[in-house]
């Protein structure tokens, strides 16, 4: 079942990539990130945000690959070196992620303007990038808490094997959902930029 879910997420990723293939390039990603950073106020928080985001993103991709690829390719849970890698990287992801949250949470807090946009309904929310970013941020945050919390609980002898199995199941599915959200978020940048460029023209 989980293998099929991973396969579905992979297919969604491929479809999104295919749809955005013209706009998508690493250069554009770099430019976009730089553009965002320029808009950001300089200072320690900006540097912390940059640094922790970069590490979080890198570790998140590595954790995703080590967690999902063995399942996708072999149908078995990760084991051996891959498991060691996953287990070793995970705490560093948590640390980097915590710093990123700390550095970004105030910026991503919903404000009066967001409340007004929410009241206008989904179509307006969709077209308003900062509010959408915040929605992504908070859904990402919440799901991370659930996913990470489940695996932390499984580290302690509180649950039976089947309980731990359920916790690991929660961790896997939540992280897969998180991965899907991250992928949608990632490609949304390009489609949105393309729209903005078209509108500007």
């Amino acid at each position: 079942m989980f293998r099929i879910s991973v396969l579905i997420v992979l297919l969604v990723t491929i479809v999104l990539y295919w749809k955005n293939r013209k706009q998508h390039s690493l250069n554009q990603l770099k430019n976009q990130l730089l553009q965002n950073l320029k808009a950001d106020r300089p200072g320690f928080l900006k540097q912390l945000r940059m640094f922790s985001f970069a590490w979080s993103a890198l570790l998140f991709v590595l954790l995703g690959l080590s967690g999902f690829l063995p399942e996708l390719l072999t149908g078995h849970h990760m084991s051996g070196f891959i498991l060691v890698l996953h287990v070793l990287l995970a705490p560093f992801f948590l640390i980097a992620f915590t710093f990123w949250i700390f550095a970004s949470v105030k910026r991503q807090a919903f404000i009066e303007k967001d409340w007004q946009i929410f009241k206008q309904g989904w179509t307006t929310i969709r077209s308003h990038q900062p509010t959408m970013d915040k929605l992504f941020f908070w859904s990402f945050f919440l799901l991370s808490l659930i996913g990470i919390g489940a695996i932390i609980l499984s580290l302690f002898p509180l649950f039976s094997s089947s309980g731990i199995g359920n916790l690991i199941g929660i961790h896997r599915y939540v992280m897969l959902l998180l991965f899907l959200i991250a992928v949608v978020f990632y490609f949304r940048y390009f489609s949105l930029n393309q729209k903005i460029k078209i509108e500007e023209k």
Partner: protein, 604 residues
């Protein structure tokens, strides 16, 4: 055409008759749970009722005595009797018989079943007669001991003298405390196959030996006039046990006493203080179960072997049915991947693993429970345990292991064992000459003795390379006739599952935490197994214990090393997680507060 139709009808009717065969009186329980009393007449092989004062007296025949009420033909195809039946699936590996000859430097695991790693006795020139007289004491009759198709013409007259060992129902079902399994072993060694079952019960005594009788010994006429000093097998029944009708009371039971199983299925681990002090430590037996409650069988005597698909396997009782009040294991803190990759027995069976494997003594290999028992700690044959290896399901499980030690000829890179009789004739006198130490281990050897032995065999097999294989060492003479040792993987040792004694949760591997296995010094991943070295100065006397686990040692060590800083890691992870949670909760309540304010404002 008519004849053909008649033949077909005949075959059909025979088959129909067979399928409609009415069960005999004792073939299936009638529902009464009480143990039936067997107040019966004993019949000999000629179906004559035995009266203790008649002459000549023959041993009773189980086929004739038990057969009228129990389907002997069906029973005799059961697991304990069908090893030599090539039509029967070999099944999971089980304990082998080990052919041992100290002075010939031979230790070979044998079985008629085609288990990987065992040698078929026939391939080594061991006849059914030889096999039965050597190992028959630990077989409950039938099978090899009664299968005429395995008997060679050469031994025809010997089989006439010894008779065949019928299925010995008493070996398992005799609930009398006076049943003497050791006597059965003794009788089989004396080739009293026909008499062994009778002699082991408390109904009779058997003296004399069929082995000493000439080929023309006649069962009814006794010993030949020219052999007066040799005592023929003679049975004397306890007349007090017979009533006027010639009936005796037999204490037989369906619920086999554990002692009956133990005689052939006991094991002892050297240097294992716990087991030496507390015999019968299996948690199931302590809880009041009997061996046969898990290892059940029906009339066909296909004993449940504890396989996952059996009704009373570990998984079925403890995870599904809860039979016999089996508690459902919590395995608190144990990630479920362990249950996928590791058999129950790994953590719960046998002695706790040490840095070096234990030397194990088993009933079958060391003749435990008899006067012939090999008692020394290092007594041959060398069996070691626990050796962790992947089983057929790909799970890691503990095993017993025995290296073969044998003389062979190298043919096209494969080994062809030299017949044991030939080796015994040539090698035993050479080695025995210098063996004055009263030990049950290998005799003291040196290079020159081994060189002489190899050279002597090489003269019998000219132009061929003769080798002695012992563990991973292959000894041979090079072109200058110098003794050379080479490391080899062929033949592989024979491994068979170790399942008892079962330890309770508190004594299982992992009861003290993950580091019971996941640490750089934990025996589970880092123990050593003993090589069969023969010569004391040969290298590689200890080998990595995980060679059969098919794991990457580097990865295992890397994973184990993560447990060094796991406590610290847990603290860090929990701390950071709590910070994250605090931030989320803070903003969550801020959001709720804002939402309530907004709604209030709207109302106002």
């Amino acid at each position: 055409m008519k004849f053909f139709l008649l033949l077909l009808t005949g075959v059909y009717l025979l088959q129909a008759a067979d399928s409609l065969q009415v069960p005999l009186l004792g073939d299936q329980p009638d529902g009464n749970r009480a143990t039936p009393i067997h107040h019966i007449k004993l019949l000999d092989q000629d179906s004559s009722v035995i009266y203790p004062d008649e002459h000549p007296l023959l041993p009773f025949s189980t086929q004739k005595t038990c057969g009228p009420c129990h389907n002997y033909a069906v029973i005799s195809r059961g697991w304990h009797f069908n090893a030599a039946d090539s039509a029967v699936d070999a099944g999971r590996q089980g304990p082998p018989f080990i052919w041992l000859n100290r002075h010939a430097l031979i230790q070979i695991p044998l079985s008629y079943r085609s288990w990987p790693g065992v040698f078929n006795p026939q391939d080594l020139g061991i006849t059914a007669l030889h096999f039965t007289s050597r190992f028959g004491g630990y077989m409950p009759g039938g099978g090899v001991a009664a299968d005429t198709s395995l008997q060679t013409l050469k031994n025809y007259w010997r089989w006439q003298v010894s008779g065949q060992a019928e299925v010995n129902c008493f070996a398992c079902h005799d609930a009398s405390p006076l049943y003497d399994a050791a006597e059965y072993v003794d009788q089989m060694k004396r080739q009293n196959f026909r008499w062994a079952a009778t002699a082991s019960t408390d109904l009779a005594r058997v003296e004399g030996s069929a082995r000493n009788m000439p080929d023309n010994f006649d069962l009814y006429w006794g010993v030949a006039p020219d052999e007066p000093r040799k005592q023929p097998p003679t049975v004397t029944y306890d007349a007090r046990r017979f009533d006027k009708k010639g009936q005796v009371d037999l204490v037989l039971t369906r619920k086999i006493p554990n002692d009956r199983c133990y005689f052939c299925h006991s094991q002892k681990f050297e240097n294992n203080q716990r087991q030496t002090e507390a015999l019968y430590d299996d948690v199931h037996l302590k809880a009041g179960l009997h061996c046969v409650e898990c290892h059940q069988n029906k009339l066909d005597h296909q004993i449940d072997r504890g396989l996952a698909e059996n009704e009373n396997s570990c998984e079925n009782c403890h995870l599904n049915s809860g039979r016999f009040g089996a508690p459902k294991p919590q395995h608190k803190g144990l990630p479920p991947v362990h249950l996928e990759k590791v058999a129950c027995t790994t953590c719960h069976s046998g002695p706790q693993p040490l840095n070096t494997s234990y030397l194990a003594h088993t009933s079958l290999a060391h003749e435990l429970g008899t006067k012939y028992a090999h008692r020394e700690a290092t007594a041959l044959p060398h069996i070691q345990a626990p050796v962790f290896a992947r089983n057929a399901q790909g799970k890691i499980a503990p095993n017993y292991m025995a290296w073969p030690v044998l003389w062979a000829i190298v043919r096209n890179d494969s080994l062809s064992p030299i017949p044991l009789e030939q080796v015994d004739e040539v090698i035993s006198p050479l080695i025995a000459r210098g063996d004055s130490l009263p030990t049950e281990d290998w005799p003291l050897l040196n290079d020159s003795l081994l060189t002489t032995s190899l050279d002597t065999l090489a003269q019998i097999f000219p132009q061929q390379q003769v080798v002695l294989v012992a563990g991973t060492n292959r000894f041979f003479l090079n072109s200058q006739k110098q003794l050379t040792v080479q490391q080899t993987d062929v033949p592989e040792p024979y491994l068979w599952p170790l399942a008892h004694d079962v330890r309770p949760a508190a004594q299982a591997l992992g009861a003290n935490g993950c580091t019971d296995c996941h640490s750089l010094s934990a025996p589970f991943f880092n123990s050593k197994i003993r090589n069969e070295t023969i010569l004391s100065d040969v290298q590689a006397s200890l080998l990595p214990g995980n060679r059969f686990m098919k794991i990457n040692q580097a990865t295992a060590n890397l994973f184990s090393s993560t447990f060094l800083f796991r406590p610290l890691l847990k603290i860090v992870v929990v701390l950071f997680y709590l910070l994250l949670l605090a931030v989320f909760v803070l903003y969550f309540f801020k959001g709720i507060n804002y939402l309530i304010n907004q709604l209030n404002q709207q109302q106002d």
